[in-house]
Symmetry: C2
Subunit: 216 residues, 2 copies
């Protein structure tokens, strides 16, 4: 199926912003990569910042959706170790499947104007709150040991986000094994005696496959 002009522009923007940065990408680079004129570009997409906000929104919306679909639809509340395995699985799979998109989200927040930044940081906070709650539940239940939970959360998130920088689907490690390995590392960081896996982690793999169209 042929891509629409909007889709072509969106893809070109993701690629260019990830490779050259938002400030390093000109309107003319974008138009050229999408095969249209600068005037049409503006007609289809508005400003360069509108494009950036669109990419970030979509990326964060998907992460939020995936986390909620995984954790909220469980019949019974997942145990904290299982829920954390699920969050790690989703975050790793998202960053491995969409390295360019996530790189733009992670690197370009400072390029946003104040109102746009507030919206995007709000979405990011909403997503990170799910991690905050999951870690707090585990600490309260006595299955996690995190003397400074915020430090542990940031360490976990940066570790999983970093996958976007080095993982290659052409490498020797299949994505589900990578995600399982990271879930193990995460539970160890929290001093959890549970092995990774469980119903929520399994559901996370299904949701990730759907949301980011990852082939099994």
């Amino acid at each position: 199926m042929a891509l629409t002009t909007e889709q072509r522009v969106h893809r070109a923007a993701v690629k260019l912003f990830a490779a050259k940065g938002f400030h390093g990408t000109g309107i003319r680079d974008l138009a050229q990569a999408a095969g249209i004129s600068s005037a049409s570009l503006y007609h289809y997409m508005g400003t360069k910042e509108d494009l950036l906000v669109g990419i970030m929104r979509e990326c964060l919306d998907r992460l939020l959706l995936a986390a909620r679909q995984t954790l909220d639809t469980m019949d019974e509340p997942a145990d904290p170790a299982d829920a954390l395995s699920a969050l790690v699985t989703l975050h790793v799979m998202a960053h491995a499947a969409q390295p360019d998109e996530t790189r733009v989200v992670d690197n370009e927040v400072s390029a946003l104007s104040r109102p746009a930044r507030r919206r995007i940081v709000g979405l990011r906070d909403e997503y990170e709150d799910i991690w905050v709650t999951t870690i707090a539940k585990g600490v309260a239940a006595g299955v996690f040991d995190a003397p400074e939970p915020a430090v542990t959360r940031l360490a976990l998130l940066e570790m999983c986000t970093g996958v976007a920088r080095w993982y290659s689907p052409r490498g020797p490690l299949p994505l589900d094994r990578l995600a399982a390995r990271y879930a193990q590392l995460a539970l160890r960081m929290l001093g959890s005696p549970s092995p990774p896996g469980g119903k929520a982690a399994e559901r996370a793999r299904e949701v990730a496959a759907q949301v980011w169209r990852i082939r099994p």
Copy 2:
């Protein structure tokens, strides 16, 4: 002491490359930030890529120097858990003390031309080899459990590198406590029963204070 023109240009470049990316920074931005003309800039610093290579070299040279000064000058060979604590301490302190410099190193390798990239990636590999060896020694000694040592190493490095993205010296957490917390997380990831700390980790704090001029 007043800064030399070279130092002013170097600082301006670090700041601009970190904030706007290499491609997003023009020669004129650099000259203006350093308070000189574009022609003088070229005279003092050569091309924009020369500046980038200089920043990356200096940053990686310091990391390498610090790792060697810490591990090679120990009277007796450090045990692997202590050596890993030391590497984590150095890496965390470097990234917290020089968030802009390390961000440039981590984000802009793809902006380098092929010969420069080979040199810089060579330095980075030299540095990462110290981590490879330390992890391998721990696995061989039976004190580390890392079924896929390369995955564990990359997870560790990304976790510690991420400090540059969120740590603020104005926050509530002193740098040495952050480093100690990260060393604990790292040893947990490796399934090590040892507590973090030891002679090498202590030496790492001294070396870091010297190399990155961190106030105790």
